[in-house]
């Protein structure tokens, strides 16, 4: 009987480890995402740090997607939509922060209001802070 338990444990342990591994990558991504929102609340830190952090977070998603292989986990889906919600900030960093560009960035955010209401609000607040 004990042998069967050991065998089952041996079989499922790589799966558990893999799930745990994915979860720790997901948590790490969420920390980085919070940081990107935080630095986007002030013009100086946004201009200085956004591009580097944006590259980092993209890399974190790519690593996660590689670990996932053919799975399509809810965590991966969440990360992908959050990345896409950064489009207004991507737009603003590629331009000058002017009233016209701020308006265009806010418009981009409106187009994704239903994709994730929570992230929409965070980006909306960041845009208000950056554009005031």
């Amino acid at each position: 009987m004990l042998r069967i338990y050991v065998l089952i444990l041996l079989l499922i342990s790589p799966l558990l480890t893999s799930a745990q591994n994915l979860k720790s990558h997901y948590d790490d991504y969420q920390t980085a995402f919070s940081r990107i929102i935080l630095i986007s609340s002030k013009k100086e830190s946004f201009i200085k740090d956004y591009s580097a952090l944006r590259l980092q977070i993209e890399k974190k998603y790519q690593n996660f997607a590689e670990l996932e292989k053919d799975q399509l986990t809810t965590m991966g889906n969440q990360m992908a939509v959050q990345l896409e919600m950064l489009a207004p900030l991507d737009y603003l960093i590629s331009q000058k922060i002017t009233p016209e560009n701020c308006k265009a960035a806010a418009h981009l955010n409106e187009l994704s209001i239903n994709s994730s209401k929570k992230t929409y609000s965070l980006i909306n607040q960041a845009l208000i802070n950056l554009c005031q």
Partner: protein, 362 residues
């Protein structure tokens, strides 16, 4: 001899009047709510857009014309753009017309809201068929739009069951347009170049569409006047044009840039077009831009045949959102549609889906 002649005339007259009667019968709604029909009759007399389209598609008498294949797109899988031909079969429009998609209706020109159960007839959907076909051809002439008429049939069936008068907080008219959608088309860094390309087009297929495009470039229309997106003669036509321009806008700005390497990798795969239009049409729905793009990020690791299957399944996020909400809803609606169909179209539809609803194959 003379009697025989009179008899023949009587038979022909009877057949014609029977056809006219059938065209004016309500497919949905009540016989007493004739607002929509009156709208169309007035538009036939007063609207240059309606007269152009009616003449072009010979709505009273169908005409056959040779194909003038002057399409500039190199996508062999997209339909040829044949003048005077409409895309959808009447049986399918009749089935789609029986779908009740919303409870609130707007009656035009008054703009009054309510539940009028407006009479929706065959002559009306024949005109809608002509409008969609005409504007689709125009968009394909002026834009790179990888969408097939079958996808449009699915889209309008889901959005409104082809009813131009449905309107609620979620959207208005045939394409269930929202304010942000219209605004997006008028942004110079987003959709405005598409409106301009139609307004400036010299192609015959854009003759009717350009009337609306030119007018709207000088004054942006607003949903505060719902009839400008509902009423036959200009409004309903504007709704169709905007829904198509919106798709082209999404393709240019949001979808194609993400699919560039995928398109290159699978350029020889016959299923690629279906991947493209499924990814594109997903952006039309309530999920929003980011969700549609995130779905592409997630699924572009799959080969085209698997990608297409995956688009019909939910792609849930940790927050409970679904990145494929629109393509999932489209698939559900197509299943519902079968109950309103009769054989032989019913069995064809069960086998081939909305492709069975196309008037001619390509």
């Amino acid at each position: 001899m003379k009697l025989k002649f009179y008899f023949q005339i009587a038979v022909v007259t009877a057949l014609l009047s029977q056809q006219t009667f059938a065209d004016q019968q309500c497919i949905s709604g009540t016989e007493s709510s004739k607002g929509l029909i009156e709208n169309l009759s007035a538009a036939e007399k007063n609207s240059p857009i309606t007269s152009l389209i009616s003449r072009r598609y010979g709505l009273e008498k169908k005409t056959e014309a040779d194909c003038i294949d002057c399409e500039k797109s190199n996508k062999a899988l997209l339909p040829k753009l044949e003048p005077n031909k409409t895309y959808f079969k009447e049986e399918c429009l009749e089935a789609a017309g029986q779908i009740k998609a919303a409870s609130n209706e707007v009656i035009c020109p008054s703009g009054k809201n309510g539940q009028f159960r407006q009479c929706y007839t065959r002559s009306f959907f024949n005109y809608q068929n002509a409008v969609i076909s005409d504007f689709y051809k125009c968009l394909r002439r002026t834009q790179n739009l990888p969408i097939t008429p079958e996808a449009l049939f699915e889209m309008y069936s889901l959005e409104s069951g082809f009813k131009p008068y449905y309107s609620n907080s979620g959207g208005t008219g045939m394409g269930q347009l929202t304010s942000i959608f219209i605004k997006d088309l008028h942004q110079k860094h987003r959709g405005r170049p598409i409106i301009e390309s139609i307004a400036n087009s010299t192609h015959d297929d854009c003759e009717a569409a350009k009337i609306i495009a030119q007018k709207d470039l000088s004054k942006e229309p607003s949903l505060s006047n719902k009839c400008s997106f509902i009423q036959a003669g200009e409004g309903m036509e504007r709704n169709v044009l905007y829904s198509l321009m919106g798709l082209a806008n999404s393709w240019n700005k949001d979808i194609e840039p993400l699919l560039t390497s995928y398109n290159k990798k699978y350029e020889r795969d016959p299923q690629l077009l279906k991947v493209q239009y499924k990814a594109l049409i997903n952006s039309y729905g309530p999920g929003g831009r980011a969700a549609a793009r995130a779905s592409i990020r997630r699924l572009s690791k799959l080969k085209p045949s698997d990608y297409i299957k995956a688009m019909d399944r939910p792609l849930m996020t940790e927050e409970g959102g679904n990145l494929n909400v629109y393509t999932n809803n489209l698939a559900k609606k197509q299943k519902q549609l079968v109950q309103f169909m009769k054989d032989p179209i019913k069995s064809e539809f069960q086998k081939d889906g909305a492709r069975a609803c196309l008037e001619y194959m390509f």
